[in-house]
């Protein structure tokens, strides 16, 4: 009986919900249409132009020697060890910095979420590095690691591999370490901010229920907090990973790509801006764009987050 009654109710509600959803979708499309048109004008044109330019050997200062090379630029880039070395550097910087930032950022988010005394002061203090322009923070860290006037050598001389004469920018891995430290310092607050938003969405009721059931702090963290923050963590990791993949400023200021510390963005910059090789630079930009797309796809798949579910649509 109940079933008989409830079935028509459900079937009657479905077309209603569907109509509403369709109408909402239509309204949504109308609302975003101007933005989409604007975005196409602003982004699609340069992207298509880059795609076109990437088929030429074309140097800004010798425009008369423009030559169609088809996919030659892509072939040169993909068979060049420098391209892969720079891609490897980029991935190393991205993976290490995002992993460290995720841990530290989560700790900061917990502090910002739970703190009762001086909450505003604490949140502001944690967020300060993110408010500093990247170039400025890169210079600050370059000075910090500098052999002549930096504090790092002085403060950490008690470590066996650091001395007053340690030249951080004199070889590959120490220079990479300095760059990664600078990156982590600068953007951990951003990660913390995104995680704080996720943390505040975890229901206190669930946590209280878990506590009443006798769950320890760790169990509450692993069984309640983290699973409920999955969408927020994904967004944080996605944003930061894509951001880290584009790393440029820190490297430009700290090493100018010396000691094999170039990233993919830096390689593209040098081709387009320094060498005026518009064709090769465009090819590298296209490859960079494809890499970013692939990365975003992999991260979304990795976290298995249903974005529709995350928006509360299902």
């Amino acid at each position: 009986m109940t079933t008989t009654v409830s079935t028509p109710t459900t079937s009657a509600a479905e077309p209603h919900a569907s109509d509403r959803a369709t109408a909402e979708n239509r309204l949504g499309l109308k609302l975003v249409a101007p933005a989409v048109v604007m975005m196409l004008l602003v982004t699609a044109y340069p992207m298509l132009q880059a795609l076109y330019l990437s088929l030429f050997r074309y140097r800004l200062t010798t425009p008369g020697e423009k030559q169609f090379v088809g996919l030659g630029n892509y072939a040169t880039a993909l068979t060049d060890s420098l391209f892969w070395q720079d891609l490897f550097n980029t991935v190393v910087i991205m993976v290490v910095s995002v992993a460290v930032e995720l841990v530290i950022g989560f700790a900061f988010a917990m502090v910002m979420h739970r703190i009762i005394v001086a909450r505003g002061l604490m949140r502001t203090s944690i967020l300060i590095p993110y408010g500093i322009i990247t170039v400025v923070s890169a210079f600050a860290w370059q000075f910090a690691f500098s052999l002549n006037n930096g504090f790092v050598n002085g403060w950490f001389q008690w470590l066996p591999w650091i001395s007053a004469d340690t030249n951080w920018f004199g070889s590959h891995w120490p220079a990479m370490f300095a760059i990664i430290v600078s990156e982590i310092w600068k953007t951990t607050p951003f990660m913390a901010l995104l995680l704080l938003a996720g943390l505040s969405q975890v229901s206190d009721d669930m946590l209280e229920a878990a506590q009443v059931d006798g769950a320890t702090w760790w169990q509450r963290l692993y069984k309640v907090i983290l699973p409920n923050m999955r969408a927020a963590i994904m967004v944080a990791v996605l944003f930061r990973a894509l951001d880290a993949f584009r790393i440029f400023d820190n490297i430009f200021v700290m090493t100018k790509g010396a000691q094999g510390t170039e990233s993919s963005s830096f390689l593209t910059y040098r081709q387009v801006i320094e060498q005026f090789q518009l064709g090769m630079g465009s090819a590298l930009s296209v490859l960079l764009f494809l890499a970013v797309l692939l990365l975003a796809f992999l991260i979304v798949r990795l976290f298995r987050v249903d974005l529709a579910q995350a928006r509360g649509e299902a």
């Binding site: 004199g170 060498q275 005026f276």
Partner: protein
Amino acid sequence: MRSSEVRGAGVGARRRSVALTAVLVLVAGLLAACSSASAKPVLTWYINPDTGGQDAVAKRCSTSQYTITTQVLPTDAGQQRIQLARRLAAGDSSIDLMSIDPPYTAEFANAGYLAPIPADLASTFAKRSFRSAVAAATWKGRLVVAPFWSNTQVLWYRKSFVKKAGIDMNRPVTWTQIIKTASQNGGTVAVQANKYEGYVVWINALVSGAGGTLVKNAAKGVDATISVNSPAGHAAAGVIEDLAHSKAAPADLSVSTEGTAGTTFGGPTGAFMVNWTYIFHNYDSDAPQVAKDIGYTTYPRTLPGRPARPPYGGIGIGVSKFSAHAALATQALSCLTSPTSQGVNAKITGNMPSSAAGYQYAPLRKIYPANLLALFQKSLVLAAPRSVTPYWSDISSALQSTWHSPTSVNASTPQKSASFIEQVLQGKALL
């Protein structure tokens, strides 16, 4: 009440008329300003940053016909090239005059960015300038920029150190000698070996000093012959390898620039340094004891039997082809690069004149000892400019990639760099 309203109306009317008059005066003033501006053009000179020398010259050379103002470019020579080239490629008419670093002159001229200098002016500029300055300012047989100042490097040393070490600086010294002397006596040899143009300046001087060149037939552009893989290239690599692995290498060798080399030289282990002319007065206020201890001599030899070929640097002034006042800007070149202007600039900045006549500027003799001024001029005669090619930027960056860091330089470096440069020029390798 009524009378006050009337008074108020009167005050209001007066205020309106005062405001109207003020607006009219302002508009008239602006119109006058516009008309005077159109009557007297402003020539914009894009300059490399300095301590006010080029600004003083711009003021000095402003006439009743035109005013010259300056716009400062970035500090780094490579960044100066980038900014100028990007603007010029876009046909920016706001650039009238520009200070161009010698290695990029050919690129700008080849791209058609420079207005031609009339033959009579070019002849005057060429006749009065040092040969190295003329070579650096010439592309395809024509003088394309007016030589303004010409820098060169000399070997600076600490008099107390060489006295203790017992080395005779009155005779020509080789790189091997100074590296050995410094390492045996706890001193350092400060050079420029960061991954930047300054490092290529050193490499070029070493190769030239051994009788070689980095590039032959540079005018052929991408088809030029890369000649760094030669006995001279190997001699240059040998010097860098020696220094990088000796005790005389400063700890910051791989990131050293003109500035850090100056700091190392002024420090407790400072012994020798190769650096530009302006370094002489660097220690006057901060470290007077160092200033008193500075000695100088000709740039070190790469090989004992061959004369040194010191680096050549400087600035040539070019006129933009896209300038709205190209004729006036070309006319202004005469004053801007006159021996007196060169002297004025040298007095303020320490960047030396590009002509012997510029060295006659009396105030210079009060600031620099006569034998130092003579040494600068002798060095400019010996100096080896970097190869004049529109592809210098590629060649330089490729050299930086293969010769940096100095500790990685060995006997195989010249061969590696030669094949890499060739690949880069043919578009077969990423730079």
